[in-house]
Symmetry: C2
Subunit: 561 residues, 2 copies
């Protein structure tokens, strides 16, 4: 299918190649850990950072296979796994369905190896609905990922054209660029022309789960008139997109007729596009949302392909003023009802959340979601914690995202610096993804995820030992870290110098601490108590030895500066 699309598009070139993996991550190597699972051999990707002291650190890696021709698409590691299940005549292909039957799928084994946990734990979390593995059986290119609060916090990047801007090539490039920096899933929010083709290109080149908002395409089918939206057209769109391999659908089935008036007193009304469409539909017909009344039929499509629900928060607040209001929480209750129905079909569910929330109201969002939706994974957009900084909403929202992630949100939808202002370009996508990798990792550290701090400790050790190259290479964005260092001290020698550029060669506190430790070690002092006992006796020696913790300027550790 992708090839036919590509043939139709053959005049189109990807004109701005993005830097390679090696250019983005010097000192890193893509490695695959091989895992036996039944008759399958799973290849689980990591980014291996080689350190100058001979050690290495393996980091979670979202970047996917490198160097593939986008016109041919990626390799298809899941083909065999899926074929095996299809051959035995399964009708419900949901990971939840297999999990509840006690079956550990290759997908579960894969994410277990990726997260460093037992496959049985993965199975149990998926069976309980506390985690999802969005993995459409028509998306064999996927490297499976698990989304649940017992696992590493995930992030999503949105891409997609719009009526005013963007092209298919740009969207595929944005996908590749987003996963390069760490996006765990990508949503294609295209609303303009060629959305089928754009989606096909994206899916055939995506190692990460792809999400969509099918109501956008459904609206185009009915000529852009929300009152003409209807379940039959919507189901057709679902099947079309499920056939292509979309892994999760945002569906605004929780916006109910009775909720709409609750938004009338808001400062910023309904800001979700899907939410406002469904509200408009409800008002026009004075009928209940057809996505709600037709939910069981939607579930039939979902389980046939294993598309995961991302139940949309159509009434999320669009400003701090509207946070945590009656409309928002009324919809959340409806999403809980729908979760229960989806689970009766063994269909996987995530719950979407806000949006714009002051810090003191963030935790309530998680607590209520876990209670109302039976611990289904929460998937929030930010939240932004102040409205006053358009142009910097990757930061305003990373603050909220880190906080909501800590309290149990499983996936954080990124916000770019262009939020509220315009469409993100390549650099905006990178800035958004990096801000969210920071937020997600901060959340994992705060949650006390067992191996989260290995990375921080490795980098801090490199920093303390003045292994500058290791510090750069271990960082989220090595090239930027190195460039910032070089802006102050460009000489190659400065990267092996035993001082940091902030303080200069004579005045570095890390150097002083090293000297203090060396002093203690040379004189046979051990740590802790021993130091305490030996101090008095040794103080005189230290003074006699010159008591100098600095080298004379220019003699910095043997390295010319």
């Amino acid at each position: 299918m992708s090839l036919s699309v590509n043939r139709r598009q053959e005049g189109v070139q990807i004109i701005h190649p993005i830097p390679s993996f090696a250019e983005c991550f010097p000192g890193s190597e893509k490695v695959y850990r091989e895992v036996e699972h039944g008759r399958h051999r799973l290849r689980v990707p990591f980014r291996r950072v080689h350190l100058s002291n001979g050690e290495h650190l393996d980091l979670y890696d979202t970047t996917g296979p490198q160097g593939c021709d986008p016109h041919r698409g990626l390799p298809r590691p899941r083909s065999e796994w899926i074929a095996e299940r299809e051959a035995r005549g399964e009708r419900n292909h949901s990971q939840m369905h297999f999990a509840r039957r006690g079956e550990i799928t290759p997908e579960m084994a894969f994410v277990a190896a990726r997260e460093g946990v037992e496959p049985e734990f993965v199975r149990a979390e998926v069976a309980a609905g506390r985690a999802v593995i969005p993995a459409n059986r028509r998306h064999p290119e996927l490297e499976p990922v698990i989304i649940g609060r017992a696992f590493a916090t995930k992030i999503n990047a949105n891409i997609g054209n719009s009526a005013t801007h963007s092209s298919i090539e740009e969207e595929v490039e944005k996908l590749q660029w987003a996963i390069r920096w760490g996006a765990d899933t990508v949503m294609d929010l295209s609303t303009g022309a060629n959305i089928h083709e754009t989606r096909e290109w994206i899916l055939r080149n995506s190692p990460v789960p792809i999400g969509t908002v099918p109501i956008y395409q459904a609206l185009e089918r009915v000529g852009g008139d929300p009152a003409k939206l209807n379940l039959e057209d919507f189901l057709e769109v679902l099947v079309e997109q499920a056939e292509q391999g979309v892994d999760y659908f945002t569906i605004h089935a929780g916006v109910l007729l009775r909720h709409v008036p609750l938004t009338a007193g808001r400062l910023t009304g309904i800001v979700s596009r899907g939410g406002s469409l469904m509200a408009a539909w409800c008002l026009a017909h004075h009928e209940e949302n057809f996505l709600y009344t037709g939910f069981e039929r939607i579930c039939e499509v979902m389980k046939e392909y294993d598309v995961t629900f991302s139940l949309g928060d159509g009434l999320r607040p669009g400003s701090l003023h509207d946070a945590n209001d009656e409309a928002q929480f009324a919809e959340l209750e409806a999403l809980g009802e729908l979760t229960r129905i989806a689970w009766e079909h063994d269909v996987q569910v995530m719950i979407e959340g806000p949006g714009h929330v002051p810090l003191d109201k963030v935790k309530e969002n998680v607590d209520r979601e876990l209670a109302a939706c039976f611990e289904a994974p929460f998937y929030t957009l930010g939240p932004i914690v102040t409205d006053v900084a358009p142009g910097y909403d990757h930061i305003t929202s990373a603050i909220g995202a880190a906080h909501i992630g800590w309290h149990g949100t499983a996936m954080l939808c990124y916000v770019t610096p262009k939020e509220h202002l315009g469409l993100p370009d390549r650099d905006d996508v990178k800035q958004g993804v990096i801000a969210y990798r920071i937020a997600a990792h901060a959340a994992d550290l705060a949650k006390g995820l067992p191996r989260a701090r290995e990375w921080d400790d490795a980098l801090s050790r490199a920093r303390f030992e003045f292994r500058w190259e290791d510090q750069f290479n271990l960082s989220l964005d090595p090239v930027t870290a190195r460039a910032f260092h070089d802006a102050t001290l460009p000489a190659e020698s400065a990267k092996t110098a035993h001082f940091c550029s902030m303080c200069g060669p004579k005045f570095c506190s890390m150097r002083i601490t090293e000297d203090v430790r060396r002093y203690a070690a040379e004189r046979g002092l051990d740590e802790g108590e021993a130091v305490r006992e030996g101090l008095a006796a040794k103080a005189a020696e230290f003074a006699a030895a010159g008591g100098r913790l600095y080298l004379p300027e220019g003699a910095g550790g043997g390295e010319p500066v």
Copy 2:
């Protein structure tokens, strides 16, 4: 004094003029609210944002007088206030001293008007030690600012040359640039040559409190050998800097001999420069820190000028691994002792805090500080919540800063993108200050500060009503917000268009909500219950009227796009 310095420096030119206030804040005007206080007329600055609907919003303003010749320095609004107190023979010039005597000083009245609270409340908070007004009587150029958790959260920006880089002109420019974007105080951390002259230029051009770390200059006096540091030289440095008008001193008097061994098992030892100097001194002499033993003599200098203590956290953690450890909290206890002593002298005190702390350990820092230091204002560096993102530490730390500010930190010391890597340039200073203005405002919103949300609501209202120019002008960085918008939709007409560029003209959820509301209003529907009751009857009408919530493409609100 500044003039003589300037004459000595007269060959020096400020060569890179920064953009003007008007260029940075289009649509804004500097206004002064006049406040009578005894025989003084105080002029309290605000940034007034004029809106297109005829309204305006006054924001807290740190930018200081504009258009002054830096060689002549700023006007001196405090001269009369200070002269009056000197004339009556005061010996202790501390704001705390006056507050405890029941006197509301012009400085207190000024900050009360600035914060929108009663002067008596300010006096009571200063008297109790819960807030400080750093205001050296030798700094008449100051526009007083209050630092305490009952008030708006403040931010500090560090500037200062170093052995490897920077110049006096650059430092003055950084000061002006930092306060342009919202720094409430500035620390001059210079360690290289000409630190006296640099400081003089900065003070004579600073409307905000200036802090320093006097141990840096004391070290230069003793030839760079920490073992030769001593109280007499240190006191001379204090007097020299106090005479110049420095408003607060970071003094690492809480690093005690018995604390030093507690750091031996750390991943990153002692990372504070002042802290490592004092630790080295303690080890060299096997004596107690002379800043601790000589603390009462230091207090004598502080009260003569009204310099505020910023008791340094010399043992703050330098990595997440070392956060909240025994060394850190042992020092905090010592800082509590010193607070009590300072308060016996009516000397104002802030307490410095970390640094590098995972989110789940942030609140404990505030709670312990408030308990150990009797609610003296807490002043933290970040904290950074993950170590893995050098190059983005303005973001990693803004996350921690917002969180710690919410829980009661009174002032947040900024971190720039160059932290751990190099010296910040002009853009880094701006990025750091803006990230921290975001964090501080997020904290104020979360604390529920009475007027904090006015700003967010004004911007959100402008956003919802498609008043693009107002949205830009109300934002923290209007020029950047406008530039981001124009990158997608550069036409002037797009700024009055009734859609946002993210979704395009046909597909804007804000437009849909507006249509829904208009529909309700036109048909005489009121909010809430009325809507609920009227819905059934009106649905048919809506459908009959076409039920169209979109305009045909190209007819967008009358504006060509």
